[in-house]
């Protein structure tokens, strides 16, 4: 059985915070993506590689949302982060 994929911040992505605004700059794609509070929190949680289950647990410590909602949201947002070069998928 294959281990579940793990995710980690891309080394090309750097978080920028000015005032209440958080954005991530992806040098390899020369793009800036503005992050909402949850996305910024997720980016923080991705400092070390983590599986979907581990990320759910990490995010759950900071939000009141139920685990199933967090898992569903992450399943949507992580592929988007990977596509935009913000996050790398490590097998």
């Amino acid at each position: 059985m294959q281990p579940p994929p793990r995710y980690v911040r891309s080394p090309a992505a750097r978080l920028k915070r000015v005032g209440e605004t958080a954005a991530v700059y992806v040098r390899s794609q020369r793009a800036l993506h503005v992050l909402n509070t949850t996305a910024a929190l997720l980016f923080d949680c991705l400092e070390r590689p983590a599986s979907l289950t581990e990320l759910c647990a990490r995010l759950g410590e900071h939000t009141d949302a139920d685990p199933e909602t967090i898992r569903r949201d992450l399943a949507e947002v992580l592929p988007e982060f990977v596509r935009r070069g913000v996050v790398d998928r490590v097998e």
Binding site: R14, K16, V18, G19, E20, T21, A22, A23, Y25, R27, R30, L32, V34, N36
Partner: protein
Amino acid sequence: MKRAVLAFPSPRFRLEAPEEVLAELGKVYPESLRTAASESAGRPVRATFRIERHGAGYRLREGDGGARRGRTVGQVARLVGLRVEELLLEGRGERVAMHAGAVAVDGGACLVAGRPGAGKTACTFQLVEMGYEFLAEEVALIDARGRVEPFPQALALSTGLLAEHDRWFRRRSGGVSPAAPGLVWYRPQRCARRPVPLRTILLPRFDRTATARLRRRPTGQALVEVLGHCFAPVGDEETHFEEVMRLVDGARIFALDYADVRQARALLAEALARGWR
């Protein structure tokens, strides 16, 4: 041939041109075009433009470079204007350059940024007509201290916009002179002379079917839009993004939807009376 200097606060350009071309450039840059004699010698210039009559038209040379041709006085003046804008952008260094108009409102700069046709010029014109000092049009440069630099020039207005304005309001600012078919040069009566700290960013959207409204935009939402109105940086892109984030974070940002100049002016007047609150 007569000699003159285009003396923006920075940079400066030397000109040699027939009298009629200098007269046309005087309409575009009424605050900045000076006779060579009135300028102190030895001050550095960014470029020298030489314009000569050539056949039925004019020939423009920059330094020892190749020639560009204009058929009319207006065309050759426009070529000079475009080149001045290019050189201004090329020499901007670490300054942020935005595709925007700008006015000084109560000691703070208001940038009017938007895509072509969004109403940048129309709103800048309205603010000038409301009595505020003109800072820039088309290209606004913001220095490392977050100040918008003055770049005095005339606004190119469509005759339709001017007619629409004059239908509702008495024109109080500077003069108007013909520029090209359907276009006039509008000379702002009051121009700021010093850099002014950026306080407000206005994002107009002109649409004949729009419901008029002015609403505050959260910084995060507006950041990408504002970045889209910036010229590509000369230096490091990451530093540029950080700089723009800092500027956006320190400014109030408003989206202005409007269908005619009367609505735009009424909403702006109301917001200004409330101190943009």
